[in-house]
């Protein structure tokens, strides 16, 4: 009886704390930056979520994916995760740690600004990153392509 009571109490507590509404801003202010050797023409939010959470490791042609992002503490990084991936920044950080320390994925490369991000993506085979459309003035080294999110 005591055991049953504990089960019921724990379940009720879990369910009662689970009723919340959330908003999803449209993913329209970012472009995806991809190494020019990657054969990809379009990406969806769904694709990006699986790539940036390190759950998918391969491009269609079998090239290993290398994720490149801004530093976790930078506001554009958090904004990209929330508005495009539709995830919480702490959730993504936690997924990265789990994937890396179970041998399931390579850790993303994190850089300080968009110029370094473009340079890193251009110099890394299979690399993918993001850039805010308003920051497109950052130099393109000719080794990357920009893709709209559909």
């Amino acid at each position: 009886m005591t055991k049953l009571k504990h089960h019921i109490l724990l379940m009720i507590t879990a369910v009662m704390c689970s009723v919340v509404v959330f908003a999803k801003p449209p993913p329209d202010s970012y472009l995806i930056v991809v190494n020019s050797e990657v054969k990809v023409e379009s990406v969806s939010s769904k694709d990006l979520r699986s790539l940036f959470t390190l759950k998918r490791q391969l491009w269609q042609d079998g090239t290993p994916v290398q994720v490149v992002t801004l530093q976790s503490k930078m506001s554009d990084h958090s904004e990209f995760i929330q508005s495009v991936l539709r995830l919480f920044p702490y959730q993504v950080k936690r997924l990265w740690e789990r994937q890396v320390f179970t041998g399931s994925a390579r850790r993303p490369i994190q850089v300080d600004n968009y110029e370094k991000l473009i340079e890193q993506v251009g110099n890394t085979r299979g690399a993918i990153g993001y850039i805010k459309q308003s920051q497109l003035k950052a130099k393109n080294n000719g080794k990357v392509i920009f893709i709209n999110i559909h």
Partner: protein, 396 residues
């Protein structure tokens, strides 16, 4: 000695990436030091109430070939009191082959030693940066038997599927459990020395994850054989007298079912997990001896993110051990068979590389205390006890 060697070895590295033979080698790791201070009992050390240094050190190296193949290995050194084996361990050493058989999916075939998937935290439980607290909820992630379920030698097939607003991962694996030398002392008794052998065990797991929800389920079907060493025995209390009962060959079949539910918002998350472990044992004390037992548990945990760096935790955790269908077994008393733990804790992410965690456990009952199959508790046992745990960790 081993710890000094490991710390010296890994401190010469930092998160690094090097090109070799057309592929990429990446290395990184974690060093941590902590403190476990129980107010009573022998959960941490053989001496009741004695505190212990907690040290967890991890070093990972991965080689990703310029193709669908990756080779990863991880060494772990963990020290947490004398009830646990303090040795350098190969945590995993696995070869992954990745394929895409279906649209919006990716399949991985893994061979070698890989992490055992159970619940939300087991596969990375030795890495402080992946845990919500210094000690995981013991009802589901019992430290006393932790090494039994850390890694598997065999193969695994995993399939990941990307859905519209969520994703689904499921896996199946077959292999032998990696057992350590202290498995007898944490399950039977310190004097029940002998050799354990794992059969080929079967594991299945599935996890569905969206922005707000994680739902998970994992099953394990495990069989182990025990061959006693000469002179091995279990001390049994009969009418106030301690009688040594010699050990004989034994075997157990067990099934584990773990159910996980997590809901999250930007500033908080709530987690509920439940485990049912069913054991069917034969032998050990007498060749005709058969027993069935259950070791069940569940917890509910609430975390609040005060800021990006500071997280508060409150958790209520319940564990029950019961033996039945064995008239020869003495009845379990509540102190030996149950544990209820209320935990409050704080986790401070000082930077991307540093983390500090502190928590206080208020515990009633002794079900966590090794050996798990005990029927009574010793004279020094205190039913109400507490445990303070603190840990600082650095990722490199």
């Amino acid at each position: 000695m081993a710890r000094s060697f490991l710390l010296t070895f890994i401190s010469s590295f930092s998160i690094a990436s090097t090109s070799v033979l057309g592929g990429q080698i990446t290395t990184e790791g974690v060093v941590s030091i902590g403190y476990l201070a129980p107010s009573a009992n022998t959960f941490v050390n053989e001496e009741a109430g004695k505190d212990a240094i907690l040290s967890e050190n991890v070093f990972r190296i991965t080689y990703t070939a310029d193709s669908r193949v990756a080779l990863s290995g991880q060494l772990v050194y963990r020290e947490a009191g004398d009830n646990y084996e303090n040795e350098l361990r190969v945590d995993f050493l696995q070869l992954d082959f990745r394929f895409t058989w279906l649209e919006d999916s990716e399949q991985t075939f893994t061979v070698g030693r890989f992490k055992s998937r159970q619940g939300l935290y087991n596969e990375s439980r030795d890495v402080p940066f992946t845990r919500p607290s210094v000690l995981l909820p013991q009802s589901v992630y019992l430290d006393t038997t932790r090494n039994f379920y850390l890694s598997t030698d065999g193969f695994r097939l995993q399939s990941f599927h990307s859905l519209e607003e969520s994703d689904l991962t499921f896996g199946y694996s077959v292999g032998k459990s990696v057992l350590d030398d202290q498995f007898s002392s944490v399950t039977l008794a310190k004097t029940a020395t002998g050799d354990w052998k794992s059969e080929n065990n079967h594991y299945m797991d599935a996890r569905w994850e969206s922005q707000n929800w994680t739902l998970g389920v994992s099953f394990a079907d495990v069989s182990l054989d025990y061959q006693p060493a000469p002179g091995a025995y279990i001390p049994v209390d009969i009418n106030g007298m301690t009688i040594p009962i010699p050990m004989v060959y034994g075997a157990f079949d067990a099934t584990f079912q773990t159910y996980s539910l997590q809901y999250r918002q930007a500033n908080w998350e709530i987690t509920f997990e439940k485990i049912e472990r069913n054991f069917d044992t034969e032998g050990f004390l007498a060749s005709s001896n058969r027993a069935k037992s259950d070791l069940d548990g569940q917890y509910v945990q609430f975390r609040y993110f005060f800021s990006e760096s500071l997280t508060g935790l409150i958790r209520y955790d319940v564990m029950d051990f019961s033996i039945y269908q064995n008239p020869s077994s003495p009845p379990l008393n509540d102190d030996a068979s149950q544990a209820k733990d209320t935990t409050i804790g704080l986790l401070w992410n000082i930077s991307d590389s540093w983390q500090f965690s502190v928590e206080q456990h208020f515990i009633k009952g002794g079900a966590w205390i090794p050996p798990i199959s005990k029927t009574t508790v010793g004279d020094s046992f205190k039913s109400n006890w507490s445990l303070l745990a603190a840990q600082i960790s650095y990722k490199f």
